[in-house]
């Protein structure tokens, strides 16, 4: 019966042959891995604390990229393993975690943190340990020159470039009188300063800046501060109060006239745009670092990446449609791991003695073409500032889904160098 149904019921001889071949193959392959110790990469993970929603997806993305790299032969012919260590999204613990990964676990390098204060609190220790520290943080703190030669950001564009590159499109398509709503701390201030400068350079005007205190849980009383002649409302909020903010914005305007609304997807990362109360977002625009909803022109690389990280066409987990990913940011982990592979292979990395060569190899990188290694799109790395520049996407909410309306060029986000890390000693 089995033979008729499947047509491949094997004979005993065939099974023995197959098993023998399998054993031979295993015996042939295994020593190749066994001869070379794995390359150990440390991942400083926001598994708990304020960054936990990001951390969960960053870990999944790192695991997916690791599988792709190991399936492709590892790095320099050696298998790769990642050791994850929770930093609680806390800078003190962050520095301790890097110490643990490097000094105790013997990791070759450390990568992966997102939150700026953790990065800034950890970077000095990474430099003291003389270990490459590759961050996925978006912060301008790398390119500003605040950090050190061992700290690099090759996987995601920084906030300064993001906001500067989108201002011309906002002014040309949405309006010239802008009101900004942002959290009243460093991340929000980066938006305030760089977007305001870009708007003024483009002939527009920021007519009001509404700074929201970081401990605020209700935003209703700030809404009347938005001037009536506002043409574009620019909002960027992070943290647990995000959903409340967006809902209250909707309640404030109701079904009446409202300005054009342009937001940073940070406001809604890991949140379903079709959530009840968010209906008013229909027709508004968002910045996305990477399109959450699979676009009609998605490349094969994008499709393969989406499948590898376990995200469906709407940006949620394949196994749980309510588990929305942090899609606009998490590609940075995937791309950073591929930059690590490229850097280690270019420098002939063999052991921790080659860490300096690795940093120099990454500093020598320039153009990064769109590929499976760079799924978000092509990029250009600036070895002097240790910062990469990529395309940014502006999407419009249509039918509850984010549909891409504009893609910025690499040049749109570029700005003069503030530092040359290559002149610093190791």
């Amino acid at each position: 019966m089995t033979k008729e149904v499947f047509g491949l019921s094997p004979s005993r001889r065939a099974v023995l042959k197959g098993a023998g071949a399998g054993l031979l193959a295993a015996g042939f392959v295994a020593p190749v891995w066994a001869q070379s110790a794995p390359i150990k990469l440390g991942f400083q993970l926001h598994r708990t604390g304020i960054g936990a929603a990001y951390g969960r997806w960053y870990e999944r993305t790192a695991q997916a990229a690791l599988k792709v790299i190991n399936d492709g032969g590892g790095i320099n012919g050696r298998p790769v393993e990642i050791l994850f260590e929770d930093d609680g999204t806390d800078p003190k613990r962050g520095a301790e975690v890097v110490e643990k990964l490097v000094s105790q676990a013997g990791c070759d390098l450390v990568f992966g943190p997102l939150f700026s204060h953790v990065v800034i609190g950890t970077a000095p220790r990474a430099a003291e340990l003389k270990v490459p520290y590759l961050v996925c943080s978006e912060g301008y703190h790398v390119a500003s020159g605040m950090l050190n030669r061992w700290t690099m950001q090759p996987g995601i564009t920084d906030v300064r470039a993001q906001v500067s590159s989108m201002a011309p499109w906002v002014l040309a398509n949405l309006g010239k009188k802008v009101t900004m709503v942002f959290p009243d701390y460093a991340f929000g201030h980066d938006h305030r300063d760089f977007f305001t400068a870009a708007v003024e350079a483009g002939g527009g005007q920021v007519i009001a800046q509404v700074a929201i205190p970081p401990t605020e849980t209700s935003f209703t009383r700030y809404m009347p501060q938005i001037p009536a002649d506002t043409e574009v409302l620019y909002h960027v909020m992070v943290g647990p109060a995000v959903l409340t903010f967006v809902k209250e914005l909707g309640e404030f305007y109701g079904s009446g006239a409202r300005p054009e609304i342009f937001g940073f997807i940070d406001s809604l990362e890991a949140v379903d745009t079709a959530s009840p109360g968010l209906e008013f977002l229909e027709g508004t625009h968002f910045w996305e670092g990477h399109n959450r909803v699979k676009q009609a022109d998605a490349s094969d690389h994008e499709t393969a990446y989406r499948a590898a990280v376990g995200v469906d066409d709407n940006g949620a987990s394949i196994s749980d449609a309510k588990d929305v990913s942090t899609y606009a940011h998490m590609f940075s982990v995937w791309e950073t791991l591929h930059v690590i592979k490229a850097g280690m292979e270019a420098s002939g990395y063999q052991s921790t003695a080659d860490r300096q060569k690795f940093v120099e190899a990454v500093e020598a990188m320039t153009d990064m073409p769109a590929s499976l290694a760079h799924v978000q799109g092509d990029k250009r790395f600036n070895g002097k500032t240790h910062q990469v520049f990529g395309h940014q996407f502006i999407s419009k909410v249509e039918g509850g889904k984010l549909i891409r309306a504009h893609t910025t060029s690499l040049e749109d986000g570029m700005y003069p160098d503030a530092v040359d890390y290559t002149t610093q000693s190791f």
């Binding site: 643990k100 000094s103 105790q104 009243d184 460093a186």
Partner: protein, 314 residues
């Protein structure tokens, strides 16, 4: 060995063990111990207020952060040298404790806890609001050039460990002297029975304010040293977590014992370090450990040991 020699031998012995430890411990643990020694100074300061004087504060993060920013800001904005900057941190911690004490010591018990908590929260928010001057939530890096004292680079392992050890040793010996001095006895008297102390002619407000200022000096010095030795100044050090931590160290090690804060900091540090390797709920493990402690050894480890045998333990 006389009774007074025993405590001295114990404390000098601990310093000797810590000195030797840097040569025997792997580098990961050596750096951890330098962190623990600085945090112990913070906890010793907390212990002077809480363990000896009975002032249960929930605002010590403010004094720790005052020391950290008092050291870091002059370096960052004015280019100060490290030694004056460290002194500025020390003074900032003590001055702020004095200021808070002048107001908060009008209350006692639960009210004192709440008032100190509110002051600390106000301090934290001030750091965020003055983002342009303080670096806000992101904080800032202490320039490595400003971490050189007398030719020693505090960003390297051995000088850092030795600096932490010297600070720890001085802080502990001063604490040992203080709690055995007449003023130390008065502090304990305030803790045990404030009214009786008042009847004996002591001014409770003055004694408690002095203890709080000394406590603030310890916290400020620890904050300044932490920023200097580990190269980062940030607002998270002003959050409530850093008011709770020294209390946990003191409760675990033994309130009202000189070595207790060090023992508590050591055990708590490694409890978190080890538990986080097994579960994301490591703070739950910490909480469970404390519940067990409160139930079975409410006086902490050294407090229990003192009660059951080593009566001479200061």
């Amino acid at each position: 060995m006389s009774l007074s020699a025993k405590p001295l031998a114990l404390h000098l012995g601990l310093i000797a063990v810590l000195f030797a430890a840097q040569f025997m411990l792997p580098s990961y643990h050596a750096t951890n111990v330098s962190r623990i020694m600085v945090l112990s100074v913070f906890a010793m300061g907390y212990n002077i207020a809480f363990g000896y004087t009975g002032l249960l504060s929930l605002g010590h993060a403010l004094f720790f952060a005052a020391g950290m920013y008092g050291m870091g800001l002059p370096i960052w904005t004015l280019g100060w040298a490290p030694v004056p900057a460290l002194i500025a941190g020390l003074v900032a911690g003590g001055a702020l404790a004095g200021l808070v004490g002048l107001l908060a010591l009008r209350t006692a018990g639960v009210s004192f806890m709440i008032v100190t908590l509110m002051f600390a929260q106000a301090g934290y928010l001030t750091l965020l609001y003055l983002n342009t001057h303080t670096g806000g939530d992101e904080g800032f890096v202490v320039d490595s050039a400003a971490r050189m004292i007398a030719g020693f680079d505090l960003s390297t392992d051995t000088p850092r460990y030795m600096a932490a050890l010297i600070l720890f040793a001085i802080a502990m010996l001063i604490c040992l002297w203080l709690v055995r001095s007449p003023f130390g006895r008065v502090m304990v008297a305030m803790r045990e029975n404030e009214e009786r102390s008042r009847m004996l002619g002591y001014n409770p407000f003055r004694v408690k304010l002095t203890a709080l200022v000394i406590s603030g000096l310890y916290a400020g010095m620890a904050g300044a040293a932490y920023g200097m030795l580990f190269g980062y100044v940030g607002a998270t050090f002003a959050t409530i977590q850093y008011s709770i931590l020294p209390m946990l160290y003191v409760l675990l090690g033994g309130a009202g014992t000189v070595i207790g804060p060090f023992l508590g900091a050591l055990l708590m540090f490694y409890l978190i370090d080890i538990a986080s390797g097994y579960t994301t709920a490591y703070l739950f493990v910490v909480g469970a450990a404390l519940v067990v402690l409160v139930l079975f050894a409410p006086k902490g480890i050294l407090g229990t040991i003192r009660e059951r045998g080593l009566k001479w333990l200061p």
